[in-house]
């Protein structure tokens, strides 16, 4: 457990540090955030044609309301947490790869739902938008990461190493 925890913390700190570097921002974070705005807008235009994306901003042509997808709302940090948690957990690399692909997809899909829901909540009621934006969606995205990780951990073949991480003391586990 200690090994998993320390590895997770180190990996997360390194990944987060990398995320903040100008190179990663320019080549990954900003393009991804812009793509997220475009994907969300494309989905919205299936039922609401008066929405456009400009860079990382989604704007309604009907009333001028716009949301800008900032750091923390682009799902990158949640992805890094999942990445660190899966890499730190003792599991075959094949399982890690499959888990990461499916897990990142699950996190990003929910994040698209977050962006779209906030876009409409903001047009409806700004107080509700703030509540959902600052508190509720942050918690839901982290819950999503945790659930994805739990499902993945359950499917990881048990080895001597992988008994460790979420393991309990023998007396507790064996009852």
């Amino acid at each position: 457990m200690l090994r998993f925890f320390l590895l997770f913390v180190v990996l997360l700190a390194v990944l987060f540090g990398l995320e903040l570097t100008p190179w990663v921002q320019d080549w990954f974070v900003i393009p991804w955030t812009n793509a997220l705005a475009r994907i969300s807008t494309w989905i919205v235009t299936l039922f609401d044609g008066n929405v456009v994306a400009t860079g990382k901003v989604m704007r309604s042509n009907t009333n001028g309301f716009a949301v800008s997808i900032e750091a923390g709302c682009n799902g990158v940090e949640a992805t890094l947490v999942l990445l660190a948690a899966m890499l730190a957990f003792p599991a075959p690399w094949k399982h890690k790869a499959v888990g990461l692909v499916i897990g990142i997809l699950a996190v990003q899909l929910l994040n698209i739902l977050r962006v779209i829901s906030l876009f409409y909540l903001g047009q409806w009621n700004y107080d509700v938008f703030e509540w959902a934006h600052l508190y509720v969606w942050q918690a839901l995205i982290m819950l999503d990461v945790l659930v994805v990780w739990l499902i993945w951990v359950r499917r990881v073949p048990r080895t001597d190493d992988s008994r460790g991480p979420p393991s309990a003391p023998t007396a507790l586990a064996a009852g």
Partner: protein, 210 residues
């Protein structure tokens, strides 16, 4: 009882066809989602009480390490106002700068942790809640302080920021502390804590799957 799980534990997890949903993981996820509105509502209403230790810790840190910049700290509900020794600058009027920080922004992990803990239905969950809360308080204080420091060192006009006397390296460190304290810690700490405090629960989930 083929896997050695104690009878009371098995009963808590609802084995024995009493539960419509058989997977303990699915049951746990649904329970956590169901508890979230309750814990969020309670957290919001009790915010000033729950964040009182955060305020004390922030006050203590300001007194010890930031007394040249912070004259005092005032609390209104779940917000905290840092009364600084910094002046607005020439032509901007008299008085001192104050910086408001919404503490709830850094404390949303509390209701998340509570929902997860209650949903897991482990023994002594009240104790687990108390431990989790106590561990989260310093991390919330981190976020609040980093937000304040960002406000005076990075966001404030140059005439104000220059009065802080922070070096370039210190400003970089404040920027990193703020980013880490706002983007990572508030969400990750409750999840990691929950995993660390529910190892037996997680082990049972794994055993059922395997």
């Amino acid at each position: 009882m083929t896997d050695g799980t104690p009878p009371d534990q098995a009963e808590r997890e609802g084995r024995g066809a009493k539960h419509f949903i058989k997977s303990p993981l699915t049951r746990f996820i649904l329970a956590a989602i169901a508890w979230l509105p309750v814990t969020f509502g309670s957290w919001y209403l009790l915010g000033p009480v729950l964040l009182w230790p955060v305020r004390l810790l922030v006050q203590l840190i300001c007194r010890i390490g930031l007394s040249d910049v912070v004259r005092g700290v005032e609390v209104g509900g779940s917000s905290i106002a840092f009364l600084t020794t910094l002046k607005p600058g020439e032509g901007m009027g008299a008085g001192f700068i104050s910086v408001d920080v919404n503490m709830l922004v850094y404390a949303f992990g509390m209701p998340l942790f509570a929902a997860l803990t209650i949903a897991a239905r482990e023994e002594k969950w009240w104790r687990t809640l108390a431990i989790g809360y106590a561990v989260m308080v310093p991390f919330v204080a981190w976020g609040v302080l980093a937000d304040f420091l960002k406000g005076i060192a990075l966001v404030a006009p140059a005439a104000v920021a220059s009065q802080t006397g922070f070096s370039g390296l210190q400003r970089e460190m404040i920027a990193f502390a703020y980013q880490f304290g706002s983007l990572i810690l508030p969400a990750v700490v409750p999840a990691v804590l929950w995993v660390l405090l529910h190892r037996a629960f997680l082990e049972r989930l794994r055993r059922r799957a395997g």
